[in-house]
Symmetry: C2
Subunit: 329 residues, 2 copies
Amino acid sequence: MNYVLGIDGGGSKTLCILMDAECQVLGRGAAGASNYQSIGVAAAIQSIHSAIQTAASEALKFTNTIQISAICLGLAGVGRSGDIEIVKSMVQELQNSQFLPITWDVQPANIVVCHDALIALVGGVGHDVGIVVAAGTGSIVFGRNHQGETKRVGGWGYILGDEGSAYKIAVAGMQAALKSYDGREISTSLVPNFQQHLGLQNIAELIEVIYRRGWGVKEIASLAPIVDLAAASGDELANNIINNAVKELVTSTSTVINAMFIPNSVVEIVTTGSVWRGKSQIHEKFTTAIVNHFPQVKVMFPRYEPAYGAGLLALQSLSISHEKFNSAI
Amino acid sequence: MNYVLGIDGGGSKTLCILMDAECQVLGRGAAGASNYQSIGVAAAIQSIHSAIQTAASEALKFTNTIQISAICLGLAGVGRSGDIEIVKSMVQELQNSQFLPITWDVQPANIVVCHDALIALVGGVGHDVGIVVAAGTGSIVFGRNHQGETKRVGGWGYILGDEGSAYKIAVAGMQAALKSYDGREISTSLVPNFQQHLGLQNIAELIEVIYRRGWGVKEIASLAPIVDLAAASGDELANNIINNAVKELVTSTSTVINAMFIPNSVVEIVTTGSVWRGKSQIHEKFTTAIVNHFPQVKVMFPRYEPAYGAGLLALQSLSISHEKFNSAI
């Protein structure tokens, strides 16, 4: 009996799924961050090790021995630069661990390293063809077609891109509030709403919050719901920001559809990330615009989580030709 | 005979003007940064001390003794928060220095601390009524009317504002290049131009440059001329960026005019900062748009430098009522 591991490694948490050949999940484990580019290789290995340990312990309730035949790690930031080898050497270290209640029988071709968008796509639609539109702290659109070709649009980070992301929505909201305060824009409930949320006497104190308290991208992105709620309450400037975010995400998604799929083909588009949970009908607006352009596409929320998608990719590496598989990563 | 000091203290350099009561410059000195919020109070004092020393040494060619009756310091970031007292105590330390070839006879009311936009305005137009439209690394519009009332629009920094600044033009240029690379935008010469300037094989390597080489706001802003030159050569996306920058600066300036000056009054508007030296007719476009809305205004390049404006404000503190003066800072 073969088992596989699917790992979703991110900047704040790591998830591990232990799956059998029938795609049944026998164990699931969570741990801290594993983005080795920020926290270092040793700390990343530790998180992944811990997530595997928890998943394996859970699985041992159902089976006596666990032999791992394949592992897939989906990691943020991996894929564009040539750091796949680093992750493969991390897997080597995991295989040498004395503390995991599993055995390994993994061929090199069954160690799959890919970026987080691919596992989100595969988990989201439950197979490996379609498009994922990720809009959380950052944003990226990633698609894979039946030929195994892939395309990324966006994902350029908080300075160079991330259009439609929570970070960009939050920043646009603060900019609009300050323009209104200056008299450059119409009045907006964003001013009192930011003040109240952040405990400010005056919206000008945003300078203190953003530049002097050392706020990072995540902290700023966490303010996006203020803009979303103002839009839901009918605030004009907030609605402009949400509509602009939708427009950017629609453009990116349309670019991927046009580049990769033949006209009028059925495409599943899965939306992931915090932005889609907004109250200002951002998901509905996106869906309406996309279906308007491409009547055959289906916009959906994820069927499974990204770690599950990693598990599916690990299983796939055991069954399909390496050439076809490698084109996906 | 009374002399005054005008200090322009910034993030990269400090300038000092030593001026007599007839607004004649007797000495000028330059030194390193003096933005104490970044480099600390001791280092800032050292820079200002050095600039004064050079200016005074030069002035001693024309006079035997120098007694300072007033000093004005225009510093970036000062004015919004209550850190004027810090700067005043810095002046106190300068007065205690044994190493300056000057004597001090300065009343508290003749120690003038203000933000850099006011000295840029006063230096730029040569008196204290008008508007300065500063568009360098950051951007701000600041006006002062005949009643001594002042208004600032913008100046919210690289995350929250700085519309029309070199930083925002550079970022918009890179975003446009990456959108074009993604297939989200039309083709643009910004792609080869950024690649060539930065020595990149592929525009996607911008990620490496911007996020991993630790580039700051100034380094990014230094890329604005790439966008400006592309616009001057007729690139459509680059021109959109320049036109948008103009639009933002026109809106901010119009807001100040409308808020502070009676309709159809003559207003001098001085443009300062690197953005205005662009080749893409940004100054002409701005002037045309402003004069179109406000036929009586006059858009001009600076008559004098900001340190000279600080000198004028120091002189003014000796002659006008304190109430009127204080409303300007």
